[in-house]
């Protein structure tokens, strides 16, 4: 009401009242975004900007965390020196492999959930996908530690059934790291994929069946391309947090689970080298952005022939 009395009369004078969507309605609407804008500027742009600034500085002494009176790119050179560069490579490997495994698990699963599962059960099944989120992720990860213990019951079971000759040797390996991250981020892939399949499947399946296309070719040529937005959302929802996570990886992988996030944390938590840590943080963000951009470029190029064919199928008159 206040908005009305303060805004309306002032602006109305210079706007003709004849338009269907008067301009003055736009003003307050843009203003609705102001609180979020202010909040994110104060608590995201400013602090992250500060980190960017630190990354050009150096560590002045044992108890000094950062100094910026001399600016240079030296910390970036240090962050990319062979020893630390390996860690970025490993992180990228775990991130990409983990995301691909999540995708491979989720496509058939989400498709089943959206298309095959009985309608009346679907809500419960979806809720069941979310339930793991309600147990603290560290505790879930410790659950895996119990399962994967070399002298645990699962290892014993595998040996008793003859599946393994010796105790399970997974803990503190890359495999353990992958199990941990795939487990923790899987629901974030399933959900958007489910939505995507759910949205495209019904109208399309009918249309495609009318045209006499087989199930498999319908799925590859039509369903999958149309579900692409959901797949992209899923990949981003898994890939980005996974690249920054380091706790899951160290709990199961020990020294082998050393991720870039851990390295950044080390500089702030132990080495007190904020300048180097900031440079590593910036490199981590750049790694994520550039790798995502490359992935999309590759996917876009690879799907070019598919898209041309897809257009042909969809565009052909009935």
């Amino acid at each position: 009401m206040t908005t009305h009395s303060t805004n309306a009369p002032v602006t109305m004078l210079d706007t003709p009242p004849a338009r269907r969507r008067p301009d003055w309605l736009k003003g307050p609407r843009a203003a609705l975004a102001l609180p979020a804008w202010a909040w994110l500027t104060a608590f995201f742009v400013a602090p992250v900007g500060m980190v960017l600034w630190f990354s050009f500085g150096y560590k002045p002494g044992i108890f000094g965390t950062h100094a910026n009176d001399r600016l240079s790119f030296d910390r970036y050179a240090e962050a990319l020196s062979p020893t630390f560069f390996q860690t970025f490579q490993n992180t990228l490997w775990v991130g990409v492999t983990g995301t691909l495994i999540c995708l491979a698990i989720s496509i058939p699963f989400a498709y089943w959930l959206a298309v095959k599962a009985a309608n009346r059960h679907r809500g419960i099944l979806l809720a069941m996908v979310m339930i793991p989120f309600w147990t603290n992720f560290l505790i879930r990860t410790i659950g895996w530690q119990i399962i994967l213990a070399p002298e645990g019951w699962f290892s014993g079971l595998l040996q008793a059934t003859g599946a393994l000759d010796e105790p399970l040797d997974v803990m503190f390996t890359r495999t353990a790291v992958l199990i941990g991250v795939v487990y923790n981020y899987l629901p974030l892939m399933v959900l958007p994929l489910f939505v995507a399949f759910d949205r495209v499947i019904l109208p399309l399946r009918e249309a495609s069946k009318d045209l006499g296309a087989g199930r498999w070719s319908t799925f590859i040529n039509i369903t999958l391309p149309l579900a692409k937005p959901g797949i992209i959302v899923g990949i981003l929802l898994v890939y980005i947090p996974l690249m920054g996570d380091y706790i899951t990886a160290t709990v199961l992988g020990g020294a082998k689970g050393n991720m870039a996030g851990q390295m950044v944390a080390n500089q702030f938590q132990t080495a007190q080298n904020w300048a180097l840590g900031s440079a590593m943080a910036v490199v981590l963000i750049l790694t994520i952005l550039i790798s995502a951009a490359i992935a999309f470029l590759v996917a876009w190029l690879a799907s070019w022939p598919l898209r041309a064919r897809g257009r042909l199928v969809l565009g052909s008159p009935k």
């Binding site: 089943w112 793991p132 603290n136 879930r140 959900l191 939505v195 981003l236």
Partner: protein
Amino acid sequence: MKQRTSLIDLSMRAWAVIVFAFLFAPIIIILIYSFNNGRLLVAWGGFGFDSFASIVTKPAIRDAVWVSLQAGVISALIATVLGTLAGVALARRAGKWVPWFLVLLVLVTVTPEIVDAVALLPWMVFLGQDVGLGLFDNGIVRLVVGHSLFSTAVVAYIVRSRLIGLDESLEEAASDLYAPPLRRFTQITLPLVTPAVLAGALLSFTLSLDNTIVAAFVQVSGSTPWPVYVLSAVRTGLRPEIAAVSTIMLLLTLGALALVAVVLRRAGDSATDIAKTVGGG
């Protein structure tokens, strides 16, 4: 032909069973091990209720859960209000500011948590100690701020995509009838986005409850949130009482979910709709 399809269906169903088993295996293990009477969570030392009893005698555990709940509710509220307003503004396009704002939201979403964490701690200390805003020395305030960033962006996306999918004609009709903007907002726009807002709030609360990395950096000891308590305990070995707390929390949230489901069914919305809204449908 028929034979082949049913085989595909069958293998898909088998796959679903395997995936659910994978999702629930560690949770069931934790549930069982919360009745472990041994000293260490991971080493079984006989069945019993000692772990549940020791929750009662350890105020630090209850404090940590309570801090997490407080931070979760407040940060979800803030993220929901800010995100909803921003989402409405984005969807009912208002000009040149939109791309800039979207870039900001995307940056917030792609920045790994660890970067927020290392950036926020010195920033809060700067605000609290150097600028003199004593508010930022408060543990809950720090957690709330840290947890609200990503959530605000997520709520804005969800609300925006919900509104974009909806016809604007209702709101236009209202403005044609000279309904005041505030009333138009509360009576027409808000009800339209309610499912998206609820989904966003739920998601924000969940994310906050599980947030460990930012929390570990910005926390003020004494108002330690639950995940940070657990993280600290992991170093020297988790005790069974931590699993007991998880079991209790899991049962409570299942109850809450069931309640939400009943309410939603009354309101005509289903879990599928909620999931769709969360997924950007």
